[in-house]
Amino acid sequence: MKGWRPSPPLLLLLPAVIVLAAVVVLPLLLSLYSSFTPFRLTKPETLWVFIGARNYVNLLTNGDFWIAFARTVVLLTVALNLEMLIGLGLALLVEKASRGQRILRTIMMFPMMFSPILVGFQFKFMFNDNIGLVNNALQALGLTDRAIPWLIDGNLAFIAILTAEIWSSTSVFAILILAGLLAMPREPVEAARVDGCTPWQTFRYVTWPFIMPFAFIAMTIRSLDVARAYDIVKIMTDGGPAGRTELVWTLVARTAYSDARMGLANAMAYFSILLSILFTVYFYRKLAAARTQIAAEW
């Protein structure tokens, strides 16, 4: 049989290409398309109604969406900064430990070993206003005599979620920064000490520039994590009370599955992914700059 025959490399790659297309590219294109339709799960025929950018216009003029979006950004900023600070502190302490460092490192990883769903349940229990550990402790210590409505007041609920988030993921920062500290050459630090630096100055001018790239790697990973925060919030408050802890992804899930408005939900999702991409690009830039600065060879 004569005629066109694909080259062997193409032929050999084809199975992989087909599989990827089937499980990644097609769903992606389909969901992108559906964000331009009024698709509702309960009315399958609506998938074929094309309404242009109306979903996007809707959501950009929708106050609830913007509030959820802003809340997500605030959570992202506050959580990342606090995790960064606490992680840095932990890493510096563990690095100082002359013995038992391995066991400390392992213990530090414990929170990451729990499913976020379980973390959510645990903190939901701890912050429960009647039987929770937190209120019990506060009352036992005589700091307050009333039940603080941790998961009911909007701001307090936000703090409760933040606490759970930080507890479960600070170790990402701690581990990566510790890796940086351990990889760092010892001599520049000693040179700085001889050059007249106080411990703080040594950290500020020598240690910190060295571990900055590691911190940015952690930032990148965690910014994606927090930007798609769903499970902990779902369990602890389910976006409530009355939408006061609603984040982008709890809102998307509610719109898609409870309200069955798949088209609109997809539009929200695509818009939110922009947020993640922006953060990733920003941190990658910072990472590249920091790496050039210390002339890293990796």
Binding site: P185, E187, P188, E190, A191, A192, R193, V194, D195, G196, C197, T198, Q201, Y205, V206, P209, F210, Q293, I294, A295
Partner: protein, 365 residues
Amino acid sequence: MATVSLKKLTKSYGPVAVVQGIDLEVADREFIALVGPSGCGKSTTLRMIAGLEDISDGLIEIGGRKVNDLPPRSRNISMVFQSYALYPHMTVRENLGFSLKIAGAEKEEMDRRVAEASSILGLDQLLDRRPSQLSGGQRQRVAMGRAIVRDPDVFLFDEPLSNLDAKLRTQMRTEIKKLHAKVQSTVIYVTHDQVEAMTLADRIVIMRDGFIEQVGTPDEVFRRPQTRFVAGFIGSPPMNLHEAAVDDGQLLFQSGERLPLPSQFKANVATGDKVVFGLRPDDIYPTGHGISSGEDADVHQMELPVTVTEPLGNETLVFAEFNGSDWVSRMLNPKPLKAGDRVKMSLDLSQAHLFSAETGKTLRG
């Protein structure tokens, strides 16, 4: 400018003593080299002087002031590290000026001193580069510049040339010597390379296993080694050292061969003493191809079989067999020799060394 004095300085890690109570007085503006094989405690000693290691026991004084518990920044020292230890995220200029910036110096003062150091070391063209853009030799110069800028009481060098290739090392050695002549400050220089120690230092401190074996000028440690270890450590190629027994005014070697007992030791040994006989390659040479030590020369002639020759151009190292092993000899104005040739050798016994086989100490009176 300052003196440095170490008194019964000790460092131990748990039960392991690395530096075992050493005493040393370094004069103002003196260039002292600490030399010894790896693990002898020389770097640890230097790091204790710098304040980078705690002292287990003893006393360190810089300029007459006890500094045992002072942090490095309060000792007014500067240190050059083996791996340069430059700050990779700073330019050469920032590296040089860093200590002044930390000390809160005025901008003009800082610029002036950085310019001064960079002109001494020829770094003017490199001031805006980062360490990663410099060669090894240039980095080492920046590291030295960083030390000079501080105008410290004492310079500490920790094997500064070990990471450089042989040619550059020789070149930098000369530069360090010039630098010391220029800045005129006290220098403590750690190296495992005895040639560096010999060429640079006013006095050499030879250390082994946490103890000081000998302190002396390069000439003293070369000509009058106090111990067998020093004799073997200083000098290249190393001194020929062989065990022998004193027997009726002669040295009896294990193989049964004999040499006359060098006259300068006659009074200090008796028949039956176990000794180590040492003779530098310069003092054993094919007859007619060496330099006589002058009127005192006590030359013993013997014929030995050549095993290997190593021609170096201006001289040839001739390995000849005696007492069952190879003795290195230095042949000036070399003529071709080959393995198996029997050569008449001159041994200048007036230059020989004898050490006690038991204590390793010299038997010179």
